[in-house]
Amino acid sequence: MAAPMLRWWCLGRRWVLACIDGGSRHGRGAAIGFTSSRKRGQTSVAQQPLITSQKSRKGEHEWAAVVGLEIHAQISSNSKLFSGSRVHFAAPPNSLVSFFDASLPGTLPVLNRRCVEAAVMTGLALNCRINKKSLFDRKHYFYADLPAGYQITQQRLPIAVNGSLAYSVCVGKKPSRVITKTVRIKQIQLEQDSGKSLHDELRSQTLIDLNRAGVGLLEVVLEPDMSCGEEAATAVRELQLILQALGTSRANMAEGQLRVDANVSVHHPGEPLGVRTEVKNLNSAKFLAKAIDSEIERQIHELENGREILNETRSFDYKLGCTMPMRDKEGKQDYRFMPEPNLPPLLLYDTESLPPGADPQQVINIDWIRERLPELPSETRERLIQQYGILPEHSFALLNEVGLLEFFQNVIKETRAEPKKVTSWVLNIFLGFLKQQNLAVNESPVTPSALAELLNLLDRKAISSTAAKQVFEELWRSEGKTPSQIVSEKQLELMQDQEALERACHTVMEGHPQVVMDVKRGNPRAINKLIGLVRKATLSRADPTAIKEILERKLSP
């Protein structure tokens, strides 16, 4: 599941791999509505997976879905956006709240420098234009976790606009190709987070914890350039990796540091866009794609049954696996945006426009920040491919797991084995063991040095690859032993004695004249039988390639 796959989505819930190139579409496990789509060729809408309805016997209706996202990422900073109280995930309720956060009269907002820098870094990493002047506004609505009755945000003139986010999707089976898709970024703005409400159904009350109120958020608005849940999930994952690489947000969905709202609509290709609904409460990477796809399915179902889509807000119910309308708001929300009267415009500078003699604490230089941007995930992947000659999908997989890249690089440092071999061992065997026991990379009982030593033994042909796997298992189980120790304990070394091997081959050949005849008669598989017999005779301590070589030499006339 490391490489995301672009799929055909069928209402019969049968997932099919699609090959989106040239015009041919093939699918396995055709469902009822599916055969018809195979005859239909490529549509003019580039690379949008189309959903064929089950009713296509009556006449084919192809639907295209349009998905836009609003992503809120909590800024990784010590203190909040407009006040000096601490930002921390778990703390006693209402202990990280200042008078401003509680909206007590007489308090004023004071902007946190770190949050502005985080916004500029993120904007630059996402190819945005940074607005040298941006403004703060108030967005009014009443809710118990918003003590002021308004949220300070940047609606009119945000800090960054017009960017792009590139993400890659794997298409087709082997050889799978990697397609890069881009989604435009409408804007990035700074805004305040609200407090947390805990609903107590039993006593019909809500408990409010304001620890989160006032924490800085980056709202990243993605234009509706995505067309299914999988694309949206991949884009979000890529944004997550970028934010983590920049250090601007920990972007952990489980801890609520990354929240996603989706705007979903469906239409027939070539016709105008349909009515959109907003899907909220998407707080898990795992359910993101599922939620969006279930909303697409619901909308298609409604429209095909002659009903209309309401422009409403829906919430994803994890247990039911579908979206439900949220508690009805009274008509469309009117947020009564107005300029924040307590904050002057935010001015940013570059090296040219920097006022001379300015206090460096009080000015932010965009060029200075741009020069110090760390390596972005896409650059890292490219570098890995160039440096180690590995495949793009392996490059993806290495970046997809926390700490895996570092592990990989540590192994490479200490081993003589080929990068391709290391990649295969790290991504297949090492990662496999981790996943089986649900461990993180930093919880692994096998250290990079141990794996490096093992790979060295393998590289030197001191052990066979089967033996190496056994050693790995042993390393995993019992910490503290080195690969060499395990090899000698279990006597897994490959036979190095060439003469003994020749004798073994000779013995087997003598003992199985029929098989030898088969080989001489030209049966290609007979030799494997001989190899197997020799291996058994040598207790699996001989290298199969060496055995094959000796046998072939002996058997040639």
Binding site: S79, G84, S98, L111, D209, R336, P344, P345
Partner: protein, 136 residues
Amino acid sequence: MWALATRLGLRSWLGWRRGFTSKADPQGSGRVTAEVIEHLERLALVDFGSQEAVARLEKAIAFADRLRAVDTDGVEPMESVLEDRCLYLRSDSVVEGNCAEELLQNAHQVVEEYFVAPPGNISLPKQDEQEPFSDN
């Protein structure tokens, strides 16, 4: 401050509305309909309370409308009287918080250091259910 905020919000909101109706009524009759009043009362939780208050509102709008007499073509609107001030940037250090006890003292009801609120917003009664305006 609150009055200013309401007026500013109202101005921008009415300007938006008027954008749709002004083609038929370029000068604006200055009348604020009951529908608008009801909508405003819900949005801002302001109680107009009497017909006199609505009349006062209409006069305030007429007063502000005189701004239209000024030709502002090509002039950048002023968003804030603070526009020439420097926006102070605070360094990212923790200097506040840890006053849960003090804050909770303000609360009407408290459960284990949480503020207590009703479950969701309580809707205003519909207009017909409300008390009719008194004439003073």
